[in-house]
Symmetry: C2
Subunit: 292 residues, 2 copies
């Protein structure tokens, strides 16, 4: 069971992300103000901030200072947000609503939505590179920053999120094998979540053994996350045209599979006790969702 | 006049880019092979490789080793190529042909073209971050890599290319003031060219005075580059619906303006003699285009 302290820890980090989410967006000229407006709209439209909170968990796990971790936390949310804007486009999922509000292209038009996505992806790496400049004379901290940025860039790109997305779209109209769903869920969702957890670890200077534990946690919680999302969709009758594991193999099998991932994730971080309470809370939240 | 040696230097670097352009694309799973195919198609469709050659000019200017500069040169071409894929989309310029070949979305569909662009932008920063990992134990070289990556990220994003592109699209249907064209051309085109030149400088460890010269060269050659491109379009009767400086103020005034930028660019690098022959060649190439 989640304790009230872990709920509070999670909420405190989420509030910090909400408060600072625009801080690392580069200053945009008034002549391009619609770029800023579209990016801002997407960033402030009610995200759960799971990924940046997982980066901020570095502060509990390694006593890493908040100001050192915050730019990396916001960068992963920029990337997650760009991916939602592009996924919603008419050529992709063609969604009019996201979290109950009109999607970015519905409000700002398709061209501006494409560019807002491009702007957010660029802003993620611009902010991380700018942040590195502050540590040019501190080789140890600079190394941590470089490793965290590499982890994020790997998770979001051609060996991660973008690869998963293209395979997801291409397989949307045929029934998927278990392997194919695993590939899609791993790349489309788990890789960025894994990168968030590992980014926090790199920033905290994790040792090899902790790295292994966080990797197992990140991959497994990421896989569970996508399965639970699909279970929710099936239960609520949303996105029924989408080809997902839960839609293809049924709720029982999807729930059982998700619970296995959650158990592996929890086992990997058990020994860190209170230092891992944010990680543990997310696992318990997913369990609760499965158990309705 | 361009000497045959500067033409050869330029061509040698262009050939190197053509030869290595796929080297820094992350390994993509066969399950996402259409992502790789769309990215490959766009990267191999006959680009002039101006921007990566300007990065490689670092080798002449500072005696920087080729292998040190090549990843940064290819990264800027990934970014340029992604921007062309997205610009050509139906929601943007809606172009069917690019360099005489079908555009990426015509061959691979709109969703895959959007994702191929996203993949190339991600690949640029993934390859640069991966490359930084090789210099973790050499603080001086790592600083150069970080500064070069920051320069590129700034040039391509919300204070550069993406900002210019959104303003260009929004102003397409009304007549522009000179200030507005300057803003668009500077952001949409000159910023990425400036970043290419400065990236090479950072990799070569430039001093403050050389940095100032290269900045002036990069900005001015970049502005001239866009003007000459628009002059070409007016002369050949292409893209006549586009709102450009040459289209609005006429060929004479556009040519005169471009020649001023070219002169400033050439003056800034004059004192570097043979070390700047690639930069000089590009300036002379633009002069020749204006003079027909």
């Amino acid at each position: 069971m989640s304790t009230s302290s872990s709920i509070e820890a999670f909420k405190r980090y989420k509030d910090l992300v909400d408060e600072h989410i625009l801080d690392f967006i580069p200053e945009i000229s008034p002549l391009s103000k619609s770029l800023y407006e579209a990016m801002r709209y997407a960033l402030l439209s009610g995200g759960k901030r799971i990924r940046p909170v997982l980066v901020l968990a570095s502060c509990d796990m390694f006593n890493t200072p908040l100001h050192f971790v915050l730019p990396n936390a916001c960068a992963v949310e920029y990337i997650h947000t760009y991916s939602l804007i592009h996924d919603d486009l008419p050529a992709m999922d063609d969604d009019d609503l996201r979290r109950g509000k009109p999607t970015c292209h519905k409000v700002f038009g398709e061209a501006n939505a494409i560019l807002a996505g491009d702007g957010l992806l660029s802003a993620a790496f611009e902010s991380l590179n700018k942040d590195m400049l502050m540590y040019l004379d501190d080789p140890d901290l600079l190394k941590r920053k470089v490793r965290a940025a590499y982890s994020l860039s790997k998770g979001c790109g051609c060996r991660g999120m973008v690869a998963g997305q293209i395979t997801d779209i291409e397989s949307a109209e045929r029934s998927g094998s278990e392997d194919l769903f695993n590939y899609i869920n791993y790349n489309k969702t788990a890789m960025l979540i894994r990168s968030s957890v590992l980014s926090g670890g790199f920033l905290g200077g994790m040792d090899a053994s902790t790295r292994e534990d966080l990797l197992i946690y990140g991959e497994n919680i990421g896989m569970a996350f996508q399965l639970v999302d699909d279970i929710d969709d099936v239960r609520s009758g949303q996105d029924t045209d989408k080809n997902t594991y839960a839609g293809t193999y049924g709720l029982d099998r999807a729930s059982e599979k998700a619970m296995k991932y959650i158990k592996r994730a929890k086992d990997a971080i058990e020994k860190y006790y209170d230092h891992a309470e944010v990680y543990r809370y997310l696992a318990e939240l997913l369990e609760q969702k499965i158990n309705g």
